[in-house]
Amino acid sequence: MRELELFFGPQHPGMVGNFSITLKVEGDRILEAIPNPGYLHRGFEKLMELRNWIQNFPMVCRINVIEPDSMEAVYAMAVESLANIEVPERAKYIRTIVLELARLASHLFGAWAYANMLGFDTPAQWAMADRDHILDLFEELTGGRVYHIYILPGGVRRDLPDGFEEKVMHFLHALSQKLPDYNETFFENRIFYERAKNIGKIEKEEAIEWGATGQVLRATGVKYDIRKVEPYLVYDKVEFDIPTREDGDAYSRILVIRDEMLESAKIIMQCIEKMPKGKVYERLPNPFKWKIPKGETYVRVESSRGELGLYMVSNGGNTPYRVHFRTPSFNHGLFILPRLLKGASIADVGNIMISLYVVAPEIDR
């Protein structure tokens, strides 16, 4: 049979955002996959060198569209580490609640994408509808549905509005009642099991060598989560578990995601019970005149896709000198994906890609 070159382009419905792959196929088997990023390159790292420390923070959340809060959190933590700013206790609890709600929303979005791509329209729309509840909660807390611009260096931007905690508990309760439905129609569905089992299998040693993090690594049996290894915010004060699986294929990865959603709900409930009273914002110096002394730092956060890190260098000036985001999708999408696609069938391209939880804006920045 002859070899064909297919262009799996950026507007494909089975694609994760604006990202394209050039496939060399023979029949139904893929011989080689060449990823082709760059449709969403906005040059953030260069643009952030031209703006103040405070003017940068509305820009930072636009790097990852699905989960903007972890980007804001990592930028705020880096600036606080360079400038030695202490965050008040109550602000840490509020930040944890926001990050966990964002993780829930992102996992529901991933469930929508996966189910939609495979043809399970019903649970896909349920997941999207539940995510909409979370976006309503965010709108009430921060003023925007998708881009929150809420976590800034020094604390959070405003305090919780009245009645917010009850609404969050009500939402978590409603979500917990829907879980058996999700399980029956999607996660434990026989057809899905057949579709996803043994697809995109990664061995444990391979995953470690290839620099995988997040649920790609946890699905192969390694118990590694930055919230336990290097606890930040209040993760050392709440109890939660890290789910893992042994097989390392697409089915295990999606089950790890499902179990993580339950853990997130547990963390949010504990934070709401334990939250102290106090102020939530430590006033920052004048934004036009603030200069941070020379130094560099690397901070990391467990986002819903893996380890999100920020390497920041300051030269004693009004603006950052170099900002480099280490995003998990860069590694998973450009390095691991072509190796997994070799030998797979064309029908499984979307399957493998979404189970690796790659999003296009994170690759290009």
Binding site: P37, G38, H41, G43, E45, K46, L47, L50, S81, I208, E209, W210, G211, T213, V222, Y224, V229, E230, G295, T297, Y298, R300, E307, G309, Y311, V313, Y321, R322, H324, R326, F330, N331, L334, F335, D364
Partner: protein, 161 residues
Amino acid sequence: MDKELKRRIEEIYKDTEVEFPEANRMVLKTKKENLLPILEFLKREGFRQLKAISCVDWIEEGEFELVYLLSSLNTPLHIMVKVRVGRESPEIETIMKIFENAQVYEREIHELFGVKFRGNPDLSPLFLENWQNLPPFRKDFDTREYVKEKFEQIPFVEEKK
């Protein structure tokens, strides 16, 4: 355990400075020639994951600084290995033999900063197409000038002081 590691590194590799600026962070400054031996040594010690390669343009000193970020699954310590390369014709050996996934990071740095990595099989452009200018993340590339020339139909907003 961290101090033990520091002592051993400084013993074996001369011209290396090791510091602990914060909790769980180690910074290693070394020369270009020592890079591959040090990375192999660290990989044997258990730092098996390369998280990222980053590059900083120190234009006043005339050098690029390459930073290799390594981490391990057994300890929370995180290591940054820093080397300096001259700015005029920057070239360095690739580390793909030790860490396979360095290939994509080196490809990105080659496109955005212009650093050549000897031995990397694929250094084709990643984000930009038909780019004729300076590598864009260098400090002497002026984004405002570029926008003014290329997009004449968009009204230009003057730089505020």
